[in-house]
Amino acid sequence: MTTPDDKRRFDELVPFYVSGALGAAERAWVEAYLARVPGARAELAWHQALAGAIEERVASVPEDVGLAGLQARLAAERRGARPGRLLAALERWLPRPAVYPAFAGAAAIVLVQAVAIGVLVTRPETPVYSDVRSLGGPERQSYLQVNFKPEATERDLRLALIRVGGRIVHGPGQLGDYYVVVPGDRVEPARRELEASGVVEAVALVDKLPAREE
């Protein structure tokens, strides 16, 4: 006899049975179900067709896909034309000049200013500041390490940052983490506000940026 729970379990397991990702016990359970339930084999065949269709589609992609673009990036890097990480992060935040040509000039100025401000803000031990501090050594800069939800749009990110008066100074890293600075007295309220914003997956207070690797 087959119960609705059996059917539900079969439905959950059959994709992983087809892909070969099941352990021995679950595989045996699926095989027993296939042997005793009429129609289950048709369902299996359908899933195999689905897997076959996806495989066919990938097989039609040329092996060198993206290679020219990669080589261009490597060549630019060799020429020293690779933008800095901060610059690259800011670039992603600006509209593309090709799309908005009239905006390109203004955007470039904003970009340069933002980079200059970013560099100043993210260097906590500049000689100017260390000269005037008399006690306790240089102040530590606090950052909010923010992971936005995958479904958050660029607009969501902008609005969330505007609300807390934050500015990205680093990222995104490979795990999607952005480092944001906010005015000193606003760090904790900003952290709470971002946490409650609905577009943020995680936010943490950190006192340094990730180490550069190169």
């Binding site: 048709a42 359908w46 067709a49 495989e55 990938v58 890097e77 660029e154 190169e214």
Partner: protein, 184 residues
């Protein structure tokens, strides 16, 4: 599909971390199509997906030494690709991704009427109508052969969400195939 065993991938990443461009080319040869298919599932745009491939391998080139061997190399590389794809999506106008669509009927027998080849073509056509998250989920399960837990980790969601995505994705494809058959 071209497969790269994890140990070989680790060795390639070590060489890449040491600045070996030949190792990068080798990794690209065996992995680029998979990254493209993964990116295309989300972006629905071949040119953007190709750009995502180049960006992904360039990031791998720049950050290979960050790979500590705590996960499978492919999972680490897909993590990079996914982040790049999400950034591209954010730069676009908001996408209207449907999530939980209407429940269609459970008419499996109808698909027996389609020849195998037509069925595959129909499936691909119907996959285009799925939400990006659903397509990505199908790709990770059926092509990459990832486990439920691995898909959940990569998609950044609970395992139950992956189950729900799989359920709706398959239902929607079946429903769509039924529609194609009726329209034929």
């Amino acid at each position: 599909m071209l497969k790269l065993d994890p140990e070989a991938a680790r060795r390639l990443l070590e060489r890449i971390a040491g600045g070996d461009e030949a190792a990068l080319a080798e990794l690209h040869r065996v992995f680029a199509r998979r990254v493209f298919a993964f990116a295309q599932a989300r972006l629905r745009d071949d040119a953007a997906a190709e750009e995502a491939v180049a960006d992904t391998f360039f990031e791998i080139w720049r950050h290979a030494r960050r790979f500590r061997g705590e996960s499978q190399p492919s999972t680490w590389m897909f993590g990079i690709a996914r982040n790049i794809v999400l950034n591209k999506l954010r730069a676009r106008a908001p996408e209207t991704d449907e999530l939980d669509e209407a429940m269609p009927t459970d008419d499996l027998g109808a698909f027996d009427e389609l020849a195998r080849k037509e069925l595959r073509a129909g499936i691909l056509r119907c996959m285009e109508a799925l939400s990006a998250a659903h397509r990505e989920c199908l790709y990770l399960v059926f092509y990459e052969g990832l486990s439920l837990a691995e898909v959940a980790a990569l998609q950044g969601c609970p395992e139950n969400t992956v189950k729900t995505r799989l359920f709706h994705a398959r239902r929607n494809i079946k429903d769509c195939l039924g529609g194609l058959r009726e329209g034929a």
